[in-house]
């Protein structure tokens, strides 16, 4: 990027954060930087690496399933594959996802601050992340054999398997800690560092969702932390917390695990919803419809999200009363999610929409998220759940919500804020081509799984009855197409770093604070801390 140095900073005297001369030089100026923008990029690079790893394992799994019987890997390797795919994608990609990358980069800018409240802790959280990921990867190569429990680590198998569980579990513990520190940092930042005049109800929606997410991060994550410590105690000291042979209750493990892991779903989806709530008003050039409802529904989702973990355990053995309560509460959480969808669609109503790439991603998000949400209601109803539990239907549902929700939200945010982060425009033609190919592959891959699940094909098996063959061929081909689409999208973004045209400060006509400063932003974000006098989306 040296050649571009001159062109990027012509409009502004201050050098951008990319060229700011700090205490350290070279690589150290990145991995020791406490600048929230550089930390955001550190997260971006590490996250994309993990995403590529997870996606590749995912495609290998689909290749195994392209025909019945052993195709490319045996049963044990397949078990290791889905375990690693799950751990990486859940704990190292979608949970940190938008908060760690775009939250770090844009939260301080959007609320008019120079940095987060605790910049050093922010950097520390990245080191926790990297160490956690390293431990998870190490677990693949040390010990008797890789972990093979699935990302849920269900007891009692997780402490009886010969798989090398301890490093994996400890790695996830560290990833959790990284998530707690990020959430804590954001909460304090939002409480204490908003620019003068930015009252709560003048705060943009992306920071609002980060706020709701922050509470879930700090209040839910410790539960899985302590559960994994207990798991370690179980494996090392044979304590018997969850071992029925010693009086423990494996069901209690499931309760504790989902007490975190269900709210974690909202850690994943809320910031994505926040990004979408930024993108849609910008490309409609209209105020977000029902701003207060979007805010309230974010808080409501985070709150109700705590009380519905039991729907992961409908067939595990619970009292009838609990089944009924958890099912009812599950249906309740659909209401605030639906409110958001209505708000987004109403924002588009009668607007002169600018069909740019970020907007297309946002519309894609709303579409696939609705499929994911509705299939969630199918699974949330008790009778349907008995039939569909542990089938490919569940697989399809949570890929539509997690990958469709967080993944689409991530790429929408990536294409929306790319000019601001890099100071370059990407090639819109290739970006849209990539999106279309990705979307076709995505729908072929996952919608087939709904059918397979209803027909009774279970998840987590390397083999299946030949009657499922044809849909599986479609699904696997979809995976390959989607993988190609992803490659086009990412290569286009990388290539545009050098070849892209110089980005103006506000390429899309956005009204939030990040568009008032140069692209890329100077190291201190603002020459002068702005004074906020109006709401975030005032276009009229």
């Amino acid at each position: 990027m040296e050649s571009s140095e001159m062109t990027i900073q012509t409009n502004h005297e201050e050098p951008s954060y990319l060229h700011h001369k700090g205490k350290y030089k070279g690589i150290l100026s990145w991995i020791l930087s406490t600048d929230h923008k550089r930390i955001g990029l550190l997260y971006l690079y590490s996250l994309l690496t993990m995403f590529a790893t997870g996606a590749t394992i995912g495609v290998l799994m689909k290749l195994e399933l392209i025909a019945p019987g052993v195709t490319i890997v045996n049963a044990q390797t397949y078990n290791a594959f889905f375990t690693l795919h799950g751990i990486i994608m859940i704990f190292a990609v979608v949970i940190p996802g938008l908060p760690a990358v775009f939250g770090n980069f844009f939260l301080p800018i959007m609320i008019g601050a120079k940095d987060v409240a605790f910049p050093k802790i922010n950097l520390l959280s990245w080191y926790f992340y990297v160490s956690g990921v390293a431990l998870v990867l190490v677990s693949q190569f040390l010990g008797d054999r890789p972990p093979d429990t699935g990302w849920t680590f269900y007891a009692p198998y997780s402490f009886r398997t010969a798989g090398n569980m301890l490093p994996a579990v400890f790695g996830v513990f560290l990833l959790g800690f990284s998530s707690i520190l990020t959430g804590l940092n954001f909460l304090v930042t939002i409480h204490r560092m908003r620019a003068p005049g930015m009252s709560w109800m003048k705060m943009p929606l992306f920071p609002w969702t980060l706020y709701a997410t922050g509470w879930v991060q700090i209040l839910a994550t410790p539960i899985i932390g302590i559960t994994f410590l207990m798991m370690a105690g179980e494996r090392i000291f044979k304590i018997g917390f969850f071992d029925p042979a010693l009086g423990g209750d494996p069901l209690l493990y499931q309760h504790l695990f989902w007490t975190y892991s269900h709210p974690a779903v909202y850690i994943m989806i809320l910031p994505a919803m926040g990004a979408i709530s930024e993108i849609i008003p910008t490309f409609c050039q209209k105020t977000a419809f029902g701003y207060k409802f979007i805010v309230a529904s974010s808080i409501a989702i985070a709150f109700v999200g705590y009380f519905i973990w039991g729907h992961h355990m409908f067939t595990s053995g619970m009292s009838g009363a609990s089944l009924f309560a958890f099912s009812l509460l599950t249906f309740l959480v659909a209401i605030p999610s639906a409110i958001k969808v209505f708000n987004w669609v109403s924002t588009m109503h009668k607007a002169s929409i600018d069909l740019k790439t970020p907007f297309l991603w946002a519309v894609g998000f709303v579409f696939v998220f609705m499929i994911g949400g509705f299939s969630g209601l199918v699974l949330g109803s008790l009778t349907a759940n008995i039939h569909l539990h542990n089938t490919h239907f569940v697989l399809a549902h949570f890929h539509f919500v997690l990958f469709g929700g967080t993944g689409y939200g991530f790429f929408a945010a990536m294409h929306y804020w790319y000019p601001k982060i890099t100071g370059r425009m990407y090639d819109a033609g290739w970006a849209n081509t990539g999106l279309v190919i990705f979307f076709i592959g995505y729908m072929t891959l996952y919608s087939t799984m709904f059918y397979l699940g209803m027909e009774g094909m279970p998840r987590r098996y390397f083999d299946y009855d030949p009657i499922f063959h044809t849909p599986n061929v479609y699904s696997s081909l979809g995976a390959i197409v989607m993988y190609m689409g992803l490659a086009i999208i990412i290569i286009n973004l990388i290539a545009s770093l050098k070849k892209g045209a110089k980005a103006p400060a506000d390429p899309w006509g956005g009204k939030t604070l990040e568009w008032t400063i140069p692209s890329p932003p100077p190291a201190e974000n603002f020459d002068q801390i702005p004074v906020v006098t109006k709401g975030p989306y005032q276009y009229e």
């Binding site: 204490r192 700090i218 410790p222 410590l229 000291f237 917390f241 010693l246 504790l256």
Partner: protein, 202 residues
């Protein structure tokens, strides 16, 4: 904004962060308390009998030690506010010593049980019922995690002591000491719950 205002603002920010961190800690122990209550409910008879085997004397002694140490650290904050650096250091030293005595007691208490071959995975414990296995499993684990927090707290007190002696913490800027106090109170508070659960409810 002048300098004092800035320091005050920073102190407020820092304390908000500490409080949120304490929530996290509460939830961490909350998970353990849930597990404890479920197993106590399922094995109330065995928990009742096993609790009789713990030494109420050491438990009470340690409780008193921690309560006193909480008050000494609180007094050291007042001392620093009154610009009495010597007294503040003295009180922090006392807190450190009390925390250390707590750990020594814990060492002898655990040592006693281990000498009697009562520890998770031991043959003697496995001969007893499920309730006993769970009780002692929880006892070692919960007091162990708590002891770990005491050790971290002692490290924290050590850092604060050094910074006071180097005049980096003084009457105008003492939020780190306050945060250290908050953390130490939390460790104390959790013990206040552990004590009756393991020693008193028999």
């Amino acid at each position: 904004m002048n300098n004092t205002q800035e320091i005050e603002q920073e102190a407020l920010t820092s304390k908000t962060g500490m409080w949120l961190f304490l929530f996290t800690e509460l939830l961490l122990f909350g998970g353990l308390f849930i597990v404890y209550s479920v197993y106590r409910y399922q094995n109330s008879e065995a928990f009742h009998l096993a609790a009789n085997e713990l030494s109420v004397f050491i438990g009470t002694f340690n409780t008193i030690i921690l309560l006193i140490s909480s008050s000494t650290i609180a007094m050291s904050i007042t001392a620093i506010q009154k610009k009495n650096k010597r007294l503040a250091l003295l009180l922090l030293g006392a807190t450190f010593l009390l925390g250390f005595i707590f750990l020594v007691n814990k060492y002898f208490e655990w040592g006693h049980h281990i000498k009697e071959h009562i520890y998770p995975g031991s043959y003697d414990l496995s001969l007893r019922g499920h309730g006993d296995i769970l009780f002692y499993g929880l006892y070692y684990f919960m007091t162990g995690v708590h002891a770990l927090h005491i050790i971290v707290g002692l490290g924290f007190i050590g850092i604060v002591t050094v910074r006071i002696s180097k005049d980096k913490i003084h009457s105008g800027k003492f939020v780190l000491l306050e945060n250290c106090g908050l953390y130490w109170h939390l460790v104390d508070l959790i013990w206040i719950f552990l004590f009756p659960l393991f020693y008193l409810i028999t």
